[in-house]
Symmetry: C2
C-alpha cells in the first residue's frame, strides 16, 4: 500500500472513515494499488501536512479542490466523492464504461452524497465550525426528524431502485453486476447501523433488497478482508457516522 | 417553448427558481428547445401532476429519481442538477467534450451543490418537513454562521479557482470559454444577493473575479433576455434563496 509504484494517491483525514471511505471501498474492492497519503508518516511526505499542502497548492491538473477527499492519479487531481468515483469507476471495472451507465451511477451516488450530508447534519445542524456539544439541542431535533422521516425515505428509495433494476433481479443498483454505488450503499447501511442502531432495526425490515445487497457486498472477499484489516478505521465520534445515544431519544 | 418538437423536458416545481434554475440557465444560454413541463397546463399534460407522475413512475431509462429536477431527453431520464448538467454540457456546447474538462466542471458543480444545500439549510436547519416558522431560532443561528463563515469561504474558493485558471485569464472556471459552471456561479451570486444583501455587500469586495464573471454572464444576450422575460420566475420565499431580514441579524 505504500510502494513507490502506487497508482493512486488518496488525500483524506487519517483518523476517520468519513467521506473518504466511499473511495477507499472502491479501491479496495478493485485491489487497486493506492497510497492513503495522510495515513503515511510525515518523514516520508505523508501525514496531515501532506493533505493540507495538497488543499493549499492543488498540485495537479483539474479543478481546485474545496475539501477532501482528493484523489491524485498521474498528473490529475479530482475532488468530491461522486466525481472521484465517476473518474475511477471505469478504470477499476466498477461501472460499465458507457455514458448512460456512468450517468446512471452518478445519479445514485449523488443521492448518497445528499444522504451523507444529512447524516452529518444530525450532529452539526447549526455549524461545522462549532462543537457538537455547542449545538446539542438542535442536534436532538434534527436527529429525531432524520431517524423518523429521512432514513425510511432514503432506504425506501433505494429499495425501489433495486426493485426497478430488473436487469440484476434487484441485486445491484446499476446494470447486472456490481458497481461502485453498491459499495457506497453498503457503507451507508454500515454507518447508519453504527450511528442509529435502534432506528435501523425498524427501518431495515422494510428494505429486504437493500439488506441483501449490503450482505452480498460484505461477503465479497476483498471487502471482507479490508473490513477485517487495520486499514479499515473503526467508526468513531469524529467521523460522519457518530453514535450519540442521546440522539436516538 | 411548448411545441411538440421540444427536445428536452424539464420536470421541476413551477413556482420557484430553486435547483431547477441551474438547468434552466443552461438551456436558455444554449437556446435549446425545451418544455418546462410543470409550468404547462394540466389540460395539456403539464402542471404539478405531470411532475408527480414522473417522480412516481420514473418513465424512462436511467436511475430512479430521488427528487426534482428531472430532465427527460428522448427515452433517457436524468436527475440531480450536477448529473443533468454533466449530461447536457457537451450537447449544449457548454463544456469541452473531453473527459478531463467534463470532470473538472463536475467538481465545480458539486461544490456549488454543497453550497446550495447550505443556503437551503439557513431557513430549514432542523427539517425540510417543518415550516420555517417552526425552526426560526435554529435558522437564526445557522444563518449567522453561514453569512459570517461560509459565504466568504465559498466565494473565496471560487475567486481562487478563477485566479488559478490562467487559460481564461481568470474569466471562466473551466478552460478558456464559458461553461455551465460559470452560469451556476452567476446564479449563486444572484441568489445570495437576494437572500443576504448585507452580507454580500461585504463579501463581494474580496472577490473581484467572481463579480466580474457574474456581470459577464448577466450581459450575455440569451441570459439577459431570459432574466428579463416571464420565463424567469422571481425569487420568492418558497425557493432555495429566501430573503428573511431577521436572518441577517
Amino acid at each position: 500500500m505504500t510502494s513507490n509504484k502506487d497508482e493512486y494517491e488518496l488525500f483524506y483525514w487519517p483518523s476517520i472513515q468519513g467521506r473518504g471511505e466511499f473511495v477507499r471501498l472502491a479501491l479496495e474492492e478493485a485491489g487497486a494499488s493506492y497510497k492513503d497519503v495522510a495515513r503515511g508518516s510525515k518523514s516520508e511526505g505523508g501525514g496531515v501536512p501532506a493533505l493540507l499542502a495538497m488543499l493549499k497548492t492543488a498540485d495537479g491538473e483539474g479543478a481546485l479542490p474545496f475539501a477532501p477527499p482528493i484523489l491524485k492519479h498521474k498528473s490529475v487531481i479530482v475532488s468530491h466523492v461522486a466525481a472521484i468515483l465517476h473518474y475511477l469507476g471505469p478504470k477499476l471495472g466498477l461501472i460499465t464504461d458507457t455514458e448512460p451507465k456512468r450517468i446512471e451511477a452518478l445519479q445514485h451516488q449523488l443521492t448518497i452524497t445528499d444522504w451523507v450530508a444529512e447524516v452529518h447534519d444530525t450532529h452539526h445542524p447549526v455549524s461545522n465550525g462549532l462543537y457538537y456539544e455547542d449545538q446539542k439541542p438542535e442536534a436532538k431535533k434534527r436527529a429525531k426528524e432524520f431517524t423518523k422521516e429521512r432514513i425510511p425515505k432514503f432506504i425506501g428509495h433505494f429499495e425501489r431502485a433495486l426493485e426497478r433494476n430488473t436487469a440484476s433481479q434487484g441485486k445491484h443498483l446499476v446494470g447486472s453486476s456490481l458497481s461502485y454505488v453498491d459499495l457506497s450503499l453498503f457503507q451507508m447501511i454500515e454507518g447508519l447501523r453504527y450511528a442509529f442502531p435502534k432506528a435501523m432495526k425498524t427501518h431495515e425490515k422494510e428494505a429486504p433488497r437493500v439488506v441483501a445487497l449490503h450482505d452480498s457486498v460484505a461477503a465479497r472477499p476483498n471487502i471482507a478482508a479490508y473490513v477485517a484489516s487495520k486499514r479499515r478505521i473503526p467508526f468513531n465520534e469524529d467521523g460522519i457516522f457518530r453514535h450519540y445515544p442521546e440522539l436516538e431519544g
